[in-house]
C-alpha cells in the first residue's frame, strides 16, 4: 500500500490527550473473557476517542475479534468494566451500542445471500418502512457505494449471493456507513480490505480518512501493516489476549509492529531464497488458455514452479483456477493438466469448511483413498495425517478431534492448506487463500509453499496482495478474463501490475 497519507492533516496526539476522558466514546478497563479453558482476553484496557482512527493489530487468535465483540455489545466481559463517555455502564448491550452509534463490519461477511443489496440495507434500518421502502433503501445504499467506491458496478437490486466476494465486502462496508435515524459515531472495520483489490482498498481507506476528518471514529483491524501504519492515528498491538504495545502511529514502523506482534521472522529471507536460483524447468504440469483469450497468451506451469495470478479482483483468475480444477477430472478444451490437483479455497465458509466435522476429518477428506486400510478408512491413519500437519503447519489446538469451528479464522485456513498439501496432489491451486490471515501465519505458509515447490510441487496462486507475488517465479496479470501480461519475477513491480491491470488488453 503506498504511503499516500502523509499530506492528510490530523490533530496531533497532544491535542487529543487533552480532556481525553470526556472525549472517550467507549472505554474498557481490565476486560477479561474466557471460553471454557481458553483465555481469549486477559485484562485489556482499550479506548477510542472521538475523531481518531485506532489501528488494532495482532496474530489470529490474539483476541482482537473478542475485544471488538465487546465494543459492539455482542459479548459481555467476564471481568472488568465498560465506560461510555466517562460514565460506567453496568449492562452494556447491542441496543446500547447502536444507540451510541457504534457499528461494525466483521470479518465473516454478514449479508443474507438470498436478499438483494437494498433488502440487506433495510435490515439495519428499521425506519425504512411503508410503501416504497425498497426504493428508499436502494437510494441509501447506492449513494453510499458511490461515495466510498466511485465507479463500482454494483446495483442495489443485485442478489447478494450472485455478487463476487469483493463486491459483497464493498456492500458490507458501505452498509455500515449508511445513516437514517440512529447516529453514527464509531465504525469497527475488521479486515475490511481482505477481499478488496488494491484500487478499491485505496478508495475505502481514503473514505475512512475523510470520515475521521469529519470528527467520527474508527477502529481499523488489518493484517496489511502498511494500511494500519498509513491510516491509524494510534496503534494498539495485541498478543495472547493482552495489549503488548500501544502508542501514536508515528512511533511505529513495520519492523517494530512485527516484533511487538511476535513470532514472525524478517521477510527478506523469502526474496533471498528465491534469488538463490532454481534447477531448470521440470516437466509440464498445466497449460491453460482462458476461454475469452483471443491472442496466443496462455498460462504454462511446470513442476516445481510457483505461478502467480495477479490483477484486479474478479477479473477471471478464480474462474481459470476452477476451470483447471474441473479439467483435472474431465477433459476440457484449451486446458491440459497432467497431474492430480488440489485447491485451497479463499472463501472458506462457502468453498472449504465442512462445519459438522472435526479438524482431522476436514484435513483427511482430500486423502481418503490413501487413509484406507483394506476397504475401511483407518482412524489411526487419519489421526496420524492430522497430527503430522498440525506439527508442520502449526495449527493451534489442544485436540485435532475438536470441531473445525473451535479454531480461529487463520487456523481454519491452515487446516485447508493442510488438506491440500497433505494430499497426493502435484498441482495446488490457491484461490486468494490468505484473506484475513495474520502475517506470522502467512510467513509460515510461504516457507512451506516454497519448500513444497522445491520438492516438485506446482503452485498456481491467485492473490490480491502484491507482496505475495514476491514468492512467485512467474506472474500472469489478468484483465476482463484475459491474460494481459506475463512477467518473470525479476520484472515484477507493483507499477507494472497496476499498469497492465488498467491498460488496454495487450
Amino acid at each position: 500500500m503506498p504511503e499516500a497519507s502523509a499530506d492528510i492533516i490530523r490533530p496531533d496526539g497532544a491535542e487529543k490527550h487533552f480532556g481525553a476522558v470526556s472525549m472517550d466514546i467507549i472505554r474498557l478497563d481490565g476486560a477479561e473473557k474466557h471460553f471454557g479453558a481458553v483465555r481469549a482476553l486477559a485484562g485489556v484496557d482499550f479506548s477510542v476517542r472521538a475523531g481518531e482512527c485506532v489501528g488494532l493489530v495482532g496474530h489470529n487468535g490474539a483476541g482482537k475479534s473478542t475485544l471488538m465483540h465487546m465494543v459492539a455489545g455482542t459479548l459481555t466481559p467476564d471481568g472488568g468494566q465498560i465506560a461510555v463517555r466517562g460514565g460506567v455502564e453496568a449492562s452494556y448491550s447491542v441496543p446500547r451500542a447502536q444507540q451510541l452509534g457504534i457499528r461494525c463490519v466483521f470479518q465473516e461477511l454478514s449479508l443474507c445471500p438470498n436478499l438483494s443489496v437494498a433488502e440487506n440495507t433495510r435490515i439495519n434500518h428499521a425506519s425504512l418502512h411503508g410503501f416504497g421502502w425498497r426504493r428508499k433503501a436502494a437510494d441509501l445504499i447506492a449513494a453510499k457505494l458511490d461515495e466510498i467506491f466511485p465507479g463500482h458496478s454494483i446495483s442495489a437490486s443485485d442478489i447478494v449471493g450472485d455478487l463476487s466476494i469483493t463486491s459483497r465486502q464493498m456492500v458490507e462496508v458501505a452498509r455500515a456507513f449508511t445513516v437514517t435515524q440512529e447516529p453514527l459515531e464509531l465504525v469497527i472495520l475488521d479486515e475490511p480490505t481482505s477481499s478488496l483489490d488494491a484500487q478499491t482498498a485505496g478508495q475505502l481507506l481514503a473514505f475512512v480518512r475523510r470520515f475521521i476528518a469529519a470528527g467520527k471514529s474508527c477502529i481499523l483491524i488489518s493484517h496489511v501493516l502498511g494500511e494500519v501504519l498509513g491510516n491509524a492515528d494510534r496503534i494498539v498491538v495485541m498478543r495472547d489476549g493482552k495489549v503488548v504495545a500501544a502508542g501514536q502511529a508515528d512511533q511505529f514502523d513495520r519492523d517494530r509492529l512485527v516484533t511487538a506482534m511476535g513470532g514472525a521472522e524478517a521477510r527478506e529471507k523469502a526474496a533471498a531464497e528465491i534469488a538463490s536460483g532454481k534447477p531448470g524447468p521440470g516437466p509440464l504440469r498445466v497449460r491453460a488458455r482462458p476461454p475469452r483469450q483471443q491472442d496466443g497468451n496462455e498460462l504454462v506451469a511446470r513442476a516445481g514452479e510457483i505461478i502467480g495470478l495477479a490483477g484486479l479482483a474478479g477479473h477471471g483468475q478464480t474462474d481459470l483456477l476452477l476451470a483447471i480444477f474441473a479439467a483435472a477430472s474431465r477433459a476440457k478444451t484449451g486446458i491440459e493438466v497432467t497431474a492430480p490437483v488440489a485447491l485451497v479455497a479463499g472463501d472458506r465458509q462457502s468453498d472449504g469448511i465442512f462445519p459438522q466435522w472435526s479438524i482431522a476429518e476436514n484435513i483427511g477428506i482430500r486423502s481418503l483413498a490413501r487413509l484406507r486400510n483394506g476397504l475401511l478408512i483407518s482412524p489411526q491413519r487419519e489421526a496420524e495425517l492430522a497430527e503430522l500437519w498440525q506439527r508442520k503447519i502449526g495449527i493451534r489446538t489442544p485436540d485435532m478431534n475438536n470441531n473445525i469451528f473451535s479454531l480461529s479464522g487463520g487456523n481454519q485456513q491452515k487446516a485447508l492448506f493442510a488438506r491440500a498439501l497433505g494430499s497426493d496432489a502435484k498441482i495446488v491451486l490457491m484461490d486468494d487463500p490468505m484473506r484475513g490471515v495474520d502475517i506470522g501465519t502467512k510467513l509460515e505458509v510461504y516457507d512451506l509453499v516454497r519448500e513444497e515447490a522445491r520438492h516438485g510441487r506446482t503452485f498456481l496462486w491467485y492473490t490480491t496482495e502484491t507482496e505475495e507475488l514476491d514468492n512467485c517465479d512467474h506472474i500472469y496479470v489478468f484483465k476482463n478474463g484475459r491474460i494481459v501480461a506475463n512477467l518473470r519475477r525479476d520484472e515484477l513491480t507493483e507499477e507494472k501490475i497496476i499498469q497492465s491491470s488498467f491498460g488496454d488488453a495487450a
Binding site: F325, S329, A342, L343, A345, S350, D351, G352, I353, F354, P355, Q356, W357, E361, I365, R366, L368, A369, R372, L375, L376, I377, P379, R419, S423
Partner: protein, 315 residues
C-alpha cells in the same frame, strides 16, 4: 455419571427412550399382559421401516431438497416383480429377491437420471417417477394378489426364542450401514456433500457418482423391502408400500438425522421405527378411534422432534 451424560448427548437415545416409555405405558394399561408378544410384533414390523428408513437416511443426508418420494411405488412394484418371478416356487426365492433388487436399483437410476439430466429438484423427480412406477405396477400386477412361495413366507415369519430372524439380520445390516457411513469413502462423501456440496466438489469428492449411488441404494433397499413385505403379508399388492412414504421420513428425522443434511444417525432409525410401531400398538390397545389415533401420532412425533431438537441446540 460422565458416561450417562455422553449417552444422553447422543441424539438417538431419545428415540429408544420414547419407545421404552410407550411400551411401559401399554403394559401398565394391560396389567403386564402381552409385553413380550408386543416386542416380538414390534420387531417384526419395525424391520420393514428400518430397511427403507436407512435408504431414505442416506438420501436425506445428501443435503437440503434430497428426499426419495418414490419409495412406496417402488415397494409396490418390487413386491409384484418378486412374487411373479418366484411364482410360488421355493427354488426361485433367490432369483426373485435379485429381481426385486434389480427393479429397485433401476428405479433409483431413473430417479437420478431425472435429477441429473433434467436438473429437476429431487423432490419433484422422485414424486413424478412414483406416478409412472405406480402405473407400471397396476398394468403389470393387474391388481392380482400373487402368493409368495411357502418357504419364503416362512422365512419372513421365522423366529428364534421370540426374536424374528429378519430383525436379527436387519440389525446386522444396520451395523454395516453405520460402518459404510463413517468408515468408507462412499459414506464420508455423502456426509461431505450434505454439509457443503461445493466444498465437497472442491475437496475432490466425486459428487455425481456419490449422489447416483445413493439414489440407487435407496431404490435397492425399497425393492428388497417390497419382496420381504410380500412374503410377510403373504402376497404382493399395489398399496403394500403406501405407509412407508411418511414412515421412512419420520424415522430418519426422529432418529436424529439432520434434515439439513450432512449428519446421519443409524441407530436412531431403529429406535424411531420401534417407537412408531409401539405407538400404534399402544393407541390400538387403548381403543382410541382412527381419527384420534392419527392426531395423537402426529402430536407425539412433533413432541419427540422438538425434544430431540432442543437437546441438539443446547450442545
Amino acid at each position: 455419571m460422565a458416561s450417562l451424560r455422553t449417552l444422553l448427548a447422543r441424539p438417538w437415545i431419545w428415540s429408544f427412550f420414547g419407545a421404552l416409555l410407550v411400551w411401559l405405558a401399554t403394559i401398565a394399561f394391560t396389567g403386564g399382559y402381552g409385553g413380550g408378544g408386543m416386542i416380538t410384533a414390534a420387531l417384526s414390523l419395525a424391520v420393514f421401516t428400518v430397511i427403507v428408513g436407512v435408504g431414505q437416511m442416506f438420501v436425506i443426508t445428501l443435503g437440503p431438497g434430497n428426499v426419495d418420494l418414490s419409495l412406496p411405488a417402488n415397494i409396490g412394484l418390487a413386491s409384484a416383480v418378486a412374487m411373479k418371478v418366484m411364482d410360488g416356487n421355493d427354488a426361485m426365492i433367490a432369483v426373485g429377491l435379485l429381481a426385486a433388487l434389480a427393479c429397485g436399483m433401476a428405479i433409483g437410476a431413473v430417479n437420478y437420471l431425472l435429477i441429473w439430466a433434467l436438473r429437476i429438484p429431487p423432490i419433484i423427480a422422485t414424486l413424478s417417477a412414483s406416478f409412472v412406477i405406480q402405473s407400471v405396477d397396476i398394468s403389470y400386477g393387474r391388481g392380482l394378489q400373487i402368493k409368495p412361495p411357502p418357504g419364503f413366507a416362512d422365512f419372513t415369519n421365522w423366529q428364534v426364542f421370540g426374536i424374528p430372524v429378519l430383525a436379527i439380520l436387519t440389525v446386522l445390516f444396520t451395523i454395516g450401514a453405520g460402518i459404510v457411513l463413517q468408515r468408507m469413502i462412499y459414506g464420508r462423501s455423502v456426509l461431505a456433500i450434505g454439509q457443503n456440496i461445493r466444498a465437497a466438489w472442491l475437496a475432490g469428492v466425486s459428487v455425481g457418482r456419490t449422489r447416483f449411488l445413493t439414489y440407487m441404494l435407496s431404490g435397492a433397499l425399497g425393492g428388497l423391502d417390497g419382496a420381504l413385505l410380500a412374503g410377510y403379508f403373504r402376497g404382493a399388492n399395489v398399496d403394500i408400500g403406501n405407509e412407508y412414504l411418511l414412515a421412512s421420513i419420520a424415522v430418519v428425522v426422529i432418529g436424529g438425522t439432520s434434515v439439513a443434511g450432512g449428519k446421519a444417525n443409524v441407530p436412531g432409525v431403529w429406535g424411531a421405527a420401534l417407537f412408531l410401531v409401539l405407538l400404534l400398538t399402544m393407541l390400538n390397545t387403548f381403543g382410541v378411534s382412527v381419527g384420534v389415533r392419527l392426531v395423537l401420532t402426529g402430536l407425539i412425533i412433533v413432541g419427540v422432534i422438538t425434544a430431540a431438537g432442543g437437546q441438539k441446540a443446547l450442545r
